[in-house]
Amino acid sequence: MRFKLNFILILFVLFAGLCGYELNANLMASARNTTQSVRYVRSIENPGTANPKADGKDNADQNSPGQTPGIDLDEILKHTDLDG
């Protein structure tokens, strides 16, 4: 009997913990969306298919053009001595 009572107690605490975690995640996402006011933005200069970020992790500034570091292979090859 005592075992069953303890089992139910542990079960309840686990339910509360997991549900609390889920609820907290939902509310944090909503609070973040409220602060940023836009949930997801992608621009033509910086489409997000390569590295999509959802759930409000993006904002407009992250997507503004000219901020993405890129690798220009032609530029690298121009300055590289390929013949050794």
């Binding site: 139910i8 997991l18 609390g20 940023q36 836009v38």
Partner: protein, 387 residues
């Protein structure tokens, strides 16, 4: 002060709390649109509204280069989903943004991760690409695609905002099936049913688990209550089945004075009960503080969801994970825990933590205040007190 009086005061306080949260949420969301446009791009300046849902601005440092911002919404699973597009003077879509959604975060992440919105970038508003809906999140992806199309139509001036999205035939069939389940439950619980009620109840629970849970994925949850209270459904929904299920459950709860939904129809209850029948386990004994903790948790979740105007905020039940396999890691762990625990105690989730049970407890308590609908036990107690 008697216990009943204290409970009455707490019930009134919780109604006031929900109303205050809803009111504060309304104040918070005022003037949000212009702030959202500002955040879509810092390149857009001088934004003015030219038509309903259409704004005009210019590119930073170049006032002659006009940009048009179209905003449109389309009903999704949890309510209205709102998107915005930024179109330049060549009619090319330069930016896409998701402004507002009330769907479960996992669905949104899945659809955005599949590049449904990104697919429109660089295309002209007159030549849309063929974008397919994401399997498993069809309503959310359709809402995004339709939203972009409506936003483009708004910019062109060809969109009719009064156009209503018609009830599909599939929705009508789902609603009829749900009504059929409730009518069967009423018949089984009535005195006209002359056969074995225990097996009939279990049979109906099994059928409901297959139809409402497995086929339709239309089990209502706490977010459905929030959706009903906040009025979010008036802006349109992708699927009305879970809301209809909730309305029927409330209707039959108040007319028959029985919680038929939890006893005979709840699909997740059916799964737990089925597992419990294997081991023939007994229901858990819930202590008083557990009952009140679960109620407080439910009230807090509802209040916050009303404040943020997002019904899916109140979703912490594992229903979506059980029947659609969509949800967070925490919900996955919770589902496994409940299914395992169902082998040791009967209906552990329903008895210990289900928010729907808490809401029905609250409604049963409030129902006893109504003079013509008093519970028999309450009448008896009243007579005792009077004597």
């Amino acid at each position: 002060m008697s216990r009943k009086r204290v409970e009455q005061i707490l019930a009134l306080a919780s109604i006031c709390f929900l109303f205050a949260a809803w009111f504060a949420g309304g104040v918070r969301s005022k003037g949000e649109i212009l702030e959202q446009i500002k955040n879509i791009s810092s390149q857009i300046q001088g934004v003015t509204q030219i038509r309903p849902q259409v704004f005009e601005g210019y590119r930073r440092g170049n006032p002659s280069e006009k940009l048009y911002i179209g905003i449109a919404g389309h009903p999704s699973y949890g309510g209205l989903l709102q998107v915005a597009i930024v179109v330049n003077s060549n009619q090319t879509i330069e930016r896409v943004a998701l402004l507002q959604d009330t769907d479960t975060g996992t669905y949104i992440t899945k659809v955005l991760g599949n590049g449904v919105l990104d697919a429109f970038l660089g295309h002209k508003t007159s030549q849309f690409p063929q974008v397919d809906a994401v399997s498993g999140a069809t309503l959310t992806s359709t809402a995004m695609i339709k939203g972009v199309e409506k936003a483009a139509a708004s910019i062109h001036g060809s969109f009719q905002p009064k156009e209503k999205d018609a009830f599909s035939k599939e929705e009508v069939v789902k609603a009829a099936a749900t009504l059929g389940l409730f009518l069967t439950a009423v018949f089984i619980s009535s005195r006209f049913f002359r056969w074995n009620k225990k097996y009939a109840r279990l049979g109906l629970l099994g059928v409901s688990t297959v139809i409402l849970g497995g086929l339709y994925g239309a089990q209502f949850s706490l977010s459905s209550f929030v959706l009903l209270l906040s009025g979010g459904w008036t802006k349109g929904l992708g699927s009305y089945t879970s809301l209809i299920c909730l309305i029927l459950a409330l209707l039959f709860f108040f007319t028959t004075r029985k919680n038929l939904y939890c006893a005979m129809i709840c699909p997740f209850g059916g799964v737990q009960e089925g597992l419990g029948r294997i081991t023939r386990c007994s229901p858990p004994r819930k202590r008083e503080w557990m009952k009140w903790s679960a109620r407080l948790f439910t009230l807090f979740a509802m209040g916050m969801a009303l404040y943020f105007r997002n019904a899916s905020n109140a979703t912490y039940e594992p229903f979506g994970m059980v029947f659609s396999f969509i949800g967070s890691d925490a919900l996955f762990a919770l589902t496994i825990l409940i299914l395992l625990a169902s082998l040791f105690v009967r209906r552990p989730w329903c008895t210990l933590f289900c928010p729907v049970t808490c809401v029905f407890d609250f409604l049963a308590f409030v129902r006893s205040w109504v003079p013509f609908n008093r519970e028999p036990w309450n009448e008896g107690r009243k007579k005792e007190v009077a004597s």
